[in-house]
Every structure is written in structure tokens, then in C-alpha cells.
Symmetry: C2
Subunit: 491 residues, 2 copies
């Protein structure tokens, strides 16, 4: 895998001087077009063996490019903020927006590779992490990112010579650490691991480029020409980044589905409702104050038709909670900042820390509901969203987040009744808009979208609860009881 | 994931009778066209919970289709033949050829799912196996197969009722085993695992279809319509099955490469050669007779230019071996039977059992050498072959096979000298053909293909050894020594 990068490629000074000015100019031009178009972000990962020149390349790019639109991320031990959330959260926070370049000096590869090198995780664990990384990168690329991954290589002997040379020169001696020499001792094991990692993550959408790190000028020319070539190709051709996606899993040949199967006639009397409400609110308050909850977090996701009673249900839940412990996130059209990022970015922002709750009033399922039905995104986009959402929820689940998802279902007649009531009652009038009436016309399309969503995203770790919401009392009690039961099972 | 398949879908007798004759006729027609075209095989996987009707569906398909061109595979405990080879070997042996349908009542999912259910493997191990399965299925589909995966589902209550009903009827009682009831007790765990497995393996190229198993007629109609639809789509549209592939990893910006870096002037005297040859042949003979070798197997792969000396080198190796222990496989154009199978099938046939050796005179690298250079396959085909070959070799390596790969390199002048010698020496004349002269004209294209092959397929478990073969004595000793060293390291 590294054979060609061990041959001692060299570029002499004169040849380099000749090519440098032109290359720098072209790179700057390409970066300018990238900013102007602002259609995709560039994510550059830089890894490799110690001494192979990764940091020189980062310095070079900052020197050659307009560094106002370029950022470099390094990650040392996770902060407590980061430790309290799933592994990928720290990378989501610093993804470059469209039009910018983000260099990752450490990346999502650093920790799994380091742990495998130190034999802290098994081969199977490593492969599981790599599979997660492949899915994450596929999502980034489908969401328009240009992902470039460079691996800087030196032969064992080349590394020894390089580290020795750096140490000898007083200007660079500080750059060689004990860790570097320790890594040199484990050279063979790192090579074997790196070969495995590169093989499994050299995907069509985010391929690796192996760079011979032995000669400064060769390395600089190679990286900058690869970067320039990739930028120019992408700027010239706003290609469709979408890969094929899997179709729905449960083809239906009759009229029976999960929504029509619901019994919407279920009801509670006011008296019964008030007693049950008090009981489950009390229980919920106890549960989230338990010590065991401090190592977990809770996300409540509310979806449902217009006027199905999401807001009222959310208020009945928060009534049981300490306002310092929770956050309610109403989801509407994305902001400008959010539109410059992958779709799921705006939800990652609100992932609660351990011991906390977030309630989402509408959620990441917008992609496979309103965006699908209204044609706000392409078919391939919402089809692949099922897998991306499952991955997202799996990451939360693996990190100990308890995720409870509700779909509130009412009949078409009940919705009409509630719309009319809203129009007549002055303090409810703000709740009904022309858009609500328009959505109503697409009832059947939404119906199908909800059935698909349940089939494809109700998973062991993150099941859907369908709530018969024709009667608000019945719905609210079911919601509170479900939250308590899920918490009891999980804690 | 299984919500829609728990609703108790039903088709009444009259409706079924009405649709049955037409569906059967169309299925038979489609099967006929499949046979006539003989362009792709159909692989149907059938899995699910006990009692959900998988075996009824298999019977139905055998009844409705022409069963001469249909085979059903079940796998119980592996035979000793199978245990002696990598896991996937037992499936490779029974893949249906193009134009035929193969039903897998057990499949590559059975063992990982069973082991995970019995908690014999960790979650990470399971995910690693699933990743291997995804790669295997992608290869099958890229090699033209139509892969359909059905999961038959029943609710917990539905399963209990069904097993009880089967037991009650004397004609079906035998079909309910203790294992089925044992599985029923672990219903929830199986569901959670199945949900996970289906989520991770529901790929665009080989998606799952979840089938409500509660009603016989509904189940039959659903499976047969999905099968018919998929067959008709594929017959009508010989689509390009190729997915995007990763480009070469080490872009080169100068003239230095792994082949030009070789020192072809290295030589041995005849005397030295004979002493060395005797020494390493003796050592090799000892090594493969060691007890530890009985749990391993050895594959020697020989590639090189025409007249580079592969045959001579192979004879020097086999001279050290017991003919009952090894097999030499000369690789030429594929046979008709081999052309009806995925590319790697004809190499899987010759994987040695534990304690044995196979020597390949030319190998699976033909795809990225002659087929690439001569345009015998598409660019996407040879590009994806690197990853498929790496997966293949990784499976061998994981199973304990020691794989030693040689590229024998000579100069263009030396090749000319040997060609001319072959034409002049009567007993060597059969070795030189018009094709050899033609290949020689494509020297530079082969050169590039070899450099790419080394970069992309020299892995930790299966490294390439480049052999300077200008001097035959030097080459043969290097080959024998390398084999001995690799064996010593591995044993």
C-alpha cells in the first residue's frame, strides 16, 4: 500500500521555483471561486507517520491560501463538554460551512487508530469504528462536501533519519517529542494498522491519497496539485453527489397500514386524565432526578399532523421538569448558517449533555416528511435520509442517550374541527395559517410518508410510539406514561 | 422496522384464486427469459422468525417455477471440507450460474445472527461480519447477480399461535421443533438483533424485503410479486451494476516507480545458486511438514511478464514438495462454466485445505493486468477489482492461509533475448506465440498496471514481493528464501 511512497521521490529547487508561482495563483483563484459559489465545503484530513511533514503542509496551505476562509482543527483529550456527548459531536461542531476549507490535523481517525495501536480495542472494534466513519463520510459527501484525505508516509529508515535531522537543528528540535520516538519503535505495527485502515476506508466518495513524505518540495507539489485538481473538477462540475439508496423495505399490496390500524376512538374522562397526568408527571420528575440519569440524557422527539396537539403535549411534559434541566427546540425552516451545513448539523447542535433533556417540537424527520412531500429535496436525498437518521440515532443510543419518538395521529375530520376552532377563538388564531390548509390537501402523501418513516426508522434503540391523538387527554397520558416506561427500562 | 408486517394483512381465497394463474404464468415466462438471456444469476435469501412461512415460500417457488433451473441450499454444521477453508467458501461453491435461480434457506447471515443470538460473539464482531457481508453482496451485484433478501416476520403473539397451530395438525406437527420454541422464548432479543442486522445490511444494491408472515396467501402474493417485479425490471434493463470506485491512492508526479527502482543487475554464479537452492529447498520441505503447518495453508501466487521465468521458478519450488500436498493451477482464459460465475469464483475453487499448498501460475490479478490493458473488462470493473481482491485475500488471511505473491520483473531487452532464444531452440518453441509479441508492444501499459497493483494490493496480510528476474538464478533463490521466511514468520 505504501510501496510507491518509499521510493524517495525528489523535486529539485529550480523545478520547484518554476512551478510554485503558477500553482499558488491557481489555488488562490480556486479558493476565491469556492467562496463565491459557496456551494460546498472542503474537508481536508491530514494524517500519517510522525515526521512525514503533515504539519509543514498545513503551514504551507495557510501561507498559500487566503487563511481567512481556512481553518485548522486539532483535538487533544476531549473537553468535559465533549465527553458528555457522542464521539462525533466534537467534529460536527467545527465542520466548515459551504464555501470554506477546514483542515483536520486530527480527525475521526485519530482516536480509533490510536486505541488500536495501543491495543485498547479489538480488531472487530476497530472495524466497527471504521464502518461508522465510512457512513459518516458518505453522509458528508452526499451533503455536498468535498472530502480529501492525505496520508503522509515515510519508510522506517526514512523516519529515523528525519526525526534525527529535526532534532539536530536547533530551530526544529522542539518539534520532535518523546511520543514521536515511541511511535517510531512501533513503526511496523502502525504500518500494518494504517494499511488496514486505509484499505477499509478508501471509499469511492472519500478516497485516500498516500504522500511520500521524504522530500519537502515533492510533498508540497503533490498535495497542492491534488487539492487544486479536486477543487477545479468540483467547481466546474456541480455533480450529483448522491449514491444509490435502498428502497422501502416493506412493500404493501393492500390498504392496511400502521396508521389506519390505530384505534382513534380511545378516550379519557377529564377526571381520569387529571389523576393520571399527576401520577405520571410525578414519576417523570423523580426519574430524571435519579443519580443514574446523570450518566444518561433524554431526547423527546415530537412529530404529528398540524393541530395534532404536539405543543400541548410538550407543555404537559415540561410541567414536570426543572427548567434548568431541559431545553425545548422548535424546528422551523433552517437558518442561513444551518443551510451552509449538512442537514443533520442543526440537530447535533442541540444534543443534550449527560443528565439533561432536549424536547424537539418537530425534528430531523422533516426531511422524510415535509421536504419529501413538498419536493423541497430530491428523491435520492430523502431516501438516503432514512439510513443517515438511523446512523445518527444509533450514535446517540450507543452513547447512552435515551431517545423517545412520538407520532401524534388525528383523523382528517378532527383536524378540520380544530382548524375551524382556531380560526374562531381569538387567542388561537395565530396558530392557523394558509400553509396549514395547503398541507391538508396533501393528506394522503403525508400518510404514506409516515408509514414509510415508521417502517424504516423504528429501531431497537429508537422505536417510534404512535399516539392516538383524537382525544387530547388520552394522547397526553400515553405520552407521559411511555416516557416514564422507557426511562425505567433504560435506567 | 417490522411495524407494517405486524398488522395482520390478509388476502381472501377468492382474491387469491383470481390473481394466482396470471402471476404463475408471468413468473414462468420471466424465468424462461432469464434462462435464454443467461446474463445474470438470481440469488434469493430467505430468513426470518420460526413459523413465519419461509419453507412454505420455498415449496411454492419450486411448485410455480421450472425447478430444473432452480436450486435451494440449506447448510447445517460445516463439513470437514468446509471447516478447512474460509467461511465464505461454502457459499461460493453453490452460487447459481448465470440464467439460474438459487434460493438460500440458510445463508451467510445464518451463522453471525445465530452466534450473536447465543451471545457467542460481541456486538463489534457482529458488525464486522455484517460489513464483510455487505462487501460480498456488493461484489455479487457488481458481477451481475440479482440479489433478493426476504425476511419473514411474525409478532410474538402471532408466532406463538402459529407454532401451536402447526403442532396441533398431525400433518404439520413434525415441522415444529424444540429449537423453534426455544427461539420463541428469545423473541425480543431476536427482533432487536434482526432489526440491527437489517438496518446495517439494507444496502442499495441488495435491499431487504420484510414480509408479514401471518397469512399464507398474502405472503405468497407479496413474495411472488416482488420477485416478478425485480426479474422483469432486470430483464428489460441490462443496467450497469457498477457502483463508483475509488481512484488510485498514490498519484505520481515524476518518473520514479516501484519497477524502475528495482536493481536488475543482481546476479548469482551457478555454484552459489546451486548451494543456495539446495539449502532453501531443504528448509521449505521441513517447514511444510511441521505440525504447525497442518492448521495453516499456503498459497503461492506467481505473476510476471511473458518469459520472466515463472514456470522455472515454480518447478524449483515444487521440487521441494510432496506431490500429494500441493496443486499447481495454471490460469488461462476462463471456461464456459467459469464465465457464468463471478470473476473470483474460479480461484475460490482451488483454495487449498488446511495443511496443503496451491501454486497459481498467473492469478486473480489478471483482471487488473491483462483484462485492464487489453480492455477485456470495463474500467469500473478493474477499478473495483482492487477492493474485491483485497477482501478476498483478507478472508484467506483471517482464516490462517499464508499468501505469498511474486511479481517477476525483467527488462525489455532481456525479454527480447529470451523470445528469440525460444524461437530458435526447438523444445522451447511451443512457449512463444504471436500473442507474446503483441503483449510486448503494450509494455508501458503493463508497467503502469503493475505499479498500481502493488500500491493497491500489497497489504499487511498479503504483501507483494518484487523479484529481480533478469538473472534466473538470483530470482529463484529470492523466491524460495522469501517463501521460507514468510512461513517461518507465520508458523
Amino acid at each position: 500500500m505504501f510501496e510507491s511512497a518509499e521510493l524517495g521521490h525528489e523535486i529539485d529547487k529550480a523545478a520547484f521555483r518554476e512551478r510554485e508561482p503558477r500553482l499558488r495563483e491557481e489555488l488562490l483563484d480556486a479558493q476565491f471561486d469556492l467562496r463565491e459559489q459557496a456551494k460546498f465545503p472542503v474537508i481536508i484530513l491530514v494524517g500519517g507517520v510522525a515526521g512525514a511533514g503533515a504539519s509543514e503542509i498545513i503551514n504551507l496551505l495557510h501561507e498559500w491560501l487566503d487563511s481567512r476562509f481556512l481553518s485548522t482543527q486539532t483535538f487533544s483529550a476531549p473537553t468535559d463538554e465533549e465527553r458528555d456527548r457522542p464521539y462525533l459531536w466534537r467534529f460536527w461542531r467545527v465542520l466548515p460551512p459551504k464555501g470554506r476549507i477546514g483542515i483536520f490535523a486530527d480527525s475521526w481517525y485519530t482516536e480509533p487508530l490510536g486505541q488500536a495501536l495501543a491495543r485498547k480495542i479489538s480488531a472487530a472494534d476497530l472495524d466497527q469504528r471504521l464502518d461508522q466513519i465510512n457512513r459518516f463520510e458518505a453522509m458528508l459527501v452526499n451533503e455536498e462536501a468535498l472530502v480529501l484525505k492525505f496520508w503522509f508516509h515515510l519508510s522506517r529508515q526514512g523516519q529515523r533519519q528525519r526525526l534525527a535531522a529535526l532534532e539536530k537543528d536547533p530551530r526544529t528540535a522542539w518539534r520532535v517529542t518523546k511520543d514521536d520516538w515511541r511511535q517510531h519503535k512501533r513503526y511496523d505495527r502502525l504500518q500494518e494498522l494504517a494499511g488496514h485502515v486505509l484499505r477499509l476506508t478508501n471509499t469511492p466518495w472519500a478516497p485516500w491519497v498516500v504522500v511520500d513524505g521524504s522530500d519537502d518540495r515533492y510533498r508540497m507539489l503533490q498535495v497542492s496539485s491534488v487539492l487544486l485538481g479536486a477543487l477545479l473538477r468540483r467547481l466546474a462540475d456541480p455533480q450529483d453527489q448522491n449514491f444509490p439508496v435502498a428502497p422501502p423495505m416493506v412493500p404493501n399490496i393492500d390498504q392496511l397500514d400502521v396508521l389506519t390500524a390505530l384505534d382513534l376512538t380511545q378516550k379519557r374522562t377529564r377526571e381520569d386524565y387529571e389523576a393520571q397526568l399527576a401520577k405520571w408527571q410525578g414519576r417523570l420528575g423523580e426519574l430524571v432526578r435519579q443519580d443514574r440519569f446523570r450518566r444518561r440524557a433524554l431526547i423527546l422527539a415530537f412529530e404529528g399532523q398540524d393541530a395534532a396537539g404536539k405543543g400541548g403535549a410538550i407543555r404537559r411534559v415540561t410541567a414536570a421538569l426543572d427548567p434548568r434541566q431541559y431545553q425545548v427546540v422548535p424546528v422551523a425552516a433552517p437558518t442561513e448558517e444551518e443551510r451552509a451545513q449538512p442537514y443533520l448539523w442543526r440537530f447535533w447542535r442541540y444534543i443534550p449533555r449527560k443528565g439533561r433533556l432536549t424536547l424537539f417540537d418537530r425534528t430531523w424527520y422533516g426531511r422524510v416528511l415535509v421536504e419529501r412531500v413538498e419536493g423541497l429535496c430530491g428523491e435520492a436525498d430523502w431516501l438516503r435520509a432514512y439510513a443517515e437518521i438511523n446512523d445518527f440515532e444509533h450514535e446517540l443510543h450507543q452513547d447512552g442517550v435515551i431517545l423517545v419518538k412520538f407520532w401524534l395521529q388525528i383523523s382528517q375530520e378532527e383536524q378540520l374541527r380544530r382548524f375551524q376552532e382556531r380560526e374562531q377563538v381569538p387567542f388561537k388564531r395565530f396558530k392557523i395559517t394558509a400553509e396549514d390548509w395547503r398541507n391538508r390537501e396533501k393528506w394522503d402523501l403525508y400518510h404514506q410518508a409516515v408509514c414509510d418513516l415508521v417502517d424504516r426508522t423504528s429501531t431497537g434503540g429508537a422505536p417510534w410510539t404512535l399516539v392516538e391523538a383524537e382525544d387530547k387527554y388520552f394522547a397526553r397520558v400515553k405520552i407521559l406514561r411511555t416516557i416514564c416506561q422507557r426511562l425505567e427500562d433504560a435506567l
